[in-house]
C-alpha cells in the first residue's frame, strides 16, 4: 500500500517535471542554435545592421527591421485595445446592470476564442480594403490593418483582466467615494482605477506580450518585407512572420538561413520573457495590497 502510494506520487511528479523539461528544452534549443549562428554572423552586425535579407543573394543579418515591425504592429494593437478595453471594463464594473455584464462578458470573450488565421483573413479582405478608401496611399500589405485587427482580438484580454482587477477593489473604497457625493465617473477614475492600477498594468503587459508573439494575422496581412520603419502604411515583417516565411520555404535544414529562425526566435523569447516577468512581479505586489 505504502509503496503503491509512493509510486503514484513519483509518476505524478514526473508529469510535472515535463513542464520543466519544456522550458529547459526551449532555452537549450534557442541558445544552442543561436551560438552556432553567431559563429558565422557577428553579433554587432546583428544588432546594428539596418537590413534583414538572409534569403537574398546579398545577405544582411540586422534584426532591427524585424524588431521595428514587431513593435509597430503591437503598438497599433495596444492603441486600439487599451482605451476600448479599459472603457469596457469600467462600464461593465460600474455602470452596467449585472444582467448586461453577465451577457456581454462571455460574448466579448468569443473574440478571444476565434483562431488567429481567421483574423488574418478579416484584416486582408475587409479591413485593408476599407482603410484604403480612407487612406489613399495605403499599400495592399501594411502594418496598420493587422495592427488594428490584433487590437480587436486583444480587447477581451484587457477588458476581462482589468474588470477583474476593478471588481477586486474593496467595497469600502467605492462606498466611501459615493458617500462623498462622487459620480460613477469620478469614482471609477479617481478611486477605482488608481486602486486597481497594478491589475490593469498586468493586463496591458500581457496584451503587449501576446501582440509580440502573434503570428498569423501579421503573416497574412503585413506583407513579409523586413523594413526598418515606423510608417504603418507600407509592408513590413515581424520576428514571428519571418520564422513562418522560412518554415514555408525550401531552406535546407542546418544552413545559415535556417539558423536565422533560432536567433530571431531567441529575440522574441527574450522580449516576451522580460514582459512576463515584469507582469508576474506587479501581480505579486498587487495580491498583497488588500489582504
Amino acid at each position: 500500500m505504502r509503496r503503491k502510494e509512493k509510486i503514484i506520487e513519483f509518476l505524478l511528479a514526473l508529469a510535472g517535471a515535463i513542464t520543466v523539461l519544456t522550458t529547459i528544452g526551449i532555452l537549450w534549443v534557442l541558445l544552442y542554435e543561436s551560438v552556432l549562428f553567431f559563429k558565422e554572423v557577428s553579433i554587432v552586425e546583428f544588432f546594428t545592421d539596418t537590413q534583414w535579407t538572409p534569403l537574398f543573394a546579398d545577405k544582411h543579418f540586422g534584426i532591427l527591421p524585424l524588431i521595428s515591425g514587431t513593435i509597430l504592429t503591437s503598438l497599433i494593437a495596444i492603441i486600439v485595445a487599451l482605451p476600448i478595453g479599459l472603457s469596457i471594463a469600467v462600464y461593465l464594473n460600474e455602470y452596467a446592470h449585472p444582467k448586461v455584464r453577465r451577457t456581454v462578458k462571455p460574448v466579448l470573450e468569443i473574440l478571444a476564442a476565434i483562431p488567429t488565421v481567421v483574423y488574418g483573413f478579416f484584416a486582408l479582405t475587409v479591413v485593408t480594403p476599407y482603410l484604403q478608401t480612407i487612406i489613399p496611399g495605403l499599400a495592399g500589405f501594411n502594418a496598420l490593418s493587422p495592427g488594428i485587427v490584433m487590437g480587436i482580438m486583444i480587447i477581451p484580454l484587457i477588458s476581462s483582466l482589468s474588470e477583474d482587477a476593478l471588481y477586486a477593489v474593496p467595497k469600502s473604497l467605492r462606498e466611501a467615494s459615493y458617500g462623498l457625493g462622487a459620480t460613477p465617473f469620478q469614482t471609477s477614475f479617481q478611486v477605482l482605477i488608481p486602486a486597481a492600477s497594478s491589475g490593469i498594468i498586468v493586463s496591458v503587459i500581457l496584451a503587449i506580450s501576446r501582440a509580440f508573439g502573434e503570428t498569423m494575422i501579421v503573416a497574412v496581412a503585413a506583407g513579409l518585407e523586413p523594413r526598418l520603419t515606423l510608417d504603418p502604411t507600407v509592408p513590413i515583417a515581424t520576428i514571428t512572420t519571418y520564422i513562418v516565411q522560412v518554415s514555408m520555404g525550401d531552406v535546407a535544414q542546418g544552413s545559415l538561413e535556417f539558423k536565422t529562425i533560432f536567433s530571431a526566435g531567441m529575440m522574441l523569447f527574450v522580449f516576451t520573457f522580460i514582459l512576463n516577468t515584469i507582469s508576474a512581479r506587479v501581480k505579486k505586489k498587487f495580491y498583497h495590497k488588500y489582504e
Partner: protein, 281 residues
C-alpha cells in the same frame, strides 16, 4: 464641464466601446458567412485539395485536424491532469512544486511559434520523427499543457475540504481519496478546461507551420507517422493566393473551422453550467 455631464459623456463613450466590440464580432461573422456559405456543400467537405479553386475541397485538411486533435488529447490530457494533481495535492510546499508553479506561469506566456521551434529541433530533427502527425501533436501538447494543468488545479481547489477529511476519516489512503473522491467531484471543471485547451490546439497554425505541416496534401493520413495538413494551414494557404476564388474557398473553410471551435467552446460552457447545477456543496 460639470460632473454629471462628464459622467454621462463617459457612459455613452463606454457603451459605444462595448458595442464596438460586439459589432466587430458581428461584422466579422456575417462577412465570412456571406463570402463562404455559397461555396459550402458536402462536395467541398468530401473533395481532396486541388490546384483549381472550384475543384478544391477540405477533406484531407479536416482529417488531419481530427488526427491532430485525437493525438494531442491522448498525449496532453493524462500528463496535464497528472501534473495538476501533483501540484495541488502533493507538492504543496516543496521547493520542486514552487519551481513548477513559476515555470508553468512562464510557459503560458511563451508565444506559440516558439513551441514550434522547440518541436522542430527536438521532435522533427533530433528524435527523427520528421514532419509527421506525431511531431505536430507532441508540439501542440506541450503548448496546451499549462492550460490543462491550471484548469485541473482550479477544479480540484473548488472541491471542499470536508470531502477530503471525510475520506481520510474513513481510513482511505491519499491516492484513494484523490481517485475516488476528489477527481469525480472535480471532473466537470477538468473536462471543461481540457476541451477549451483542445479547441485552442485546433485553431493553432504558427507552431504547425514551423514543424512542417503541409499546405497541399492529396492523401488522408493513415498512421501517426504520415505527413498532414490541418484546416488552419489550408485556410492560410488559400488566403495567400491572389485569385478571388481561393478567398471564397478560404471563407468556406473558415466557417467549418469556426463551427468546430464554437461547438467545442459551447460544449465546455454547457458542461460547466450543468456540473455547477448538479453538484451543490
Amino acid at each position: 464641464m460639470n460632473n454629471r455631464l462628464k459622467n454621462n459623456l463617459f457612459k455613452y463613450w463606454a457603451i459605444a466601446c462595448t458595442l464596438f466590440g460586439i459589432i466587430m464580432l458581428g461584422v466579422f461573422l456575417v462577412n465570412i458567412f456571406v463570402d463562404g456559405f455559397g461555396r459550402l456543400d458536402w462536395v467541398f467537405i468530401k473533395y481532396l485539395p486541388s490546384r483549381k479553386a472550384e475543384n478544391a475541397g477540405i477533406y484531407t485538411a479536416v482529417m488531419g485536424t481530427l488526427w491532430i486533435l485525437g493525438l494531442t488529447a491522448i498525449i496532453a490530457i493524462p500528463v496535464g491532469v497528472a501534473a495538476g494533481i501533483y501540484l495541488e495535492e502533493y507538492g504543496k510546499k516543496s521547493r520542486f512544486a514552487n519551481i513548477l508553479e513559476i515555470n508553468i506561469t512562464n510557459l503560458a506566456g511563451i508565444p506559440s511559434i516558439i513551441y514550434g521551434i522547440l518541436g522542430l529541433e527536438v521532435f522533427v530533427r533530433t528524435a527523427g520523427l520528421g514532419s509527421s502527425l506525431i511531431s505536430g501533436a507532441l508540439t501542440l501538447s506541450l503548448l496546451i499543457l499549462p492550460v490543462i494543468i491550471v484548469a485541473t488545479r482550479e477544479a480540484i481547489k473548488a472541491v471542499p475540504k470536508t470531502i477530503r477529511e471525510a475520506s481520510y476519516a474513513l481510513g482511505a489512503s491519499k491516492w484513494q481519496t484523490i481517485s475516488e473522491q476528489i477527481l469525480p467531484a472535480a471532473g466537470g471543471g477538468i473536462v471543461t478546461g481540457v476541451i477549451l485547451a483542445l479547441s485552442r490546439a485546433v485553431g493553432e497554425t504558427a507552431p504547425l507551420i514551423v514543424v512542417g505541416a503541409l499546405t497541399y496534401v492529396p492523401f488522408v493520413p493513415q498512421t501517426p507517422m504520415d505527413q498532414y495538413s490541418v484546416l488552419p494551414m489550408q485556410i492560410f494557404n488559400w488566403i495567400s493566393r491572389p485569385e478571388k476564388e481561393f478567398a471564397v474557398n478560404a471563407a468556406a473553410a473558415i466557417i467549418v473551422l469556426l463551427i468546430i471551435t464554437f461547438v467545442m467552446n459551447g460544449t465546455a460552457i454547457f458542461l460547466r453550467n450543468r456540473w455547477q447545477k448538479k453538484v451543490k456543496w
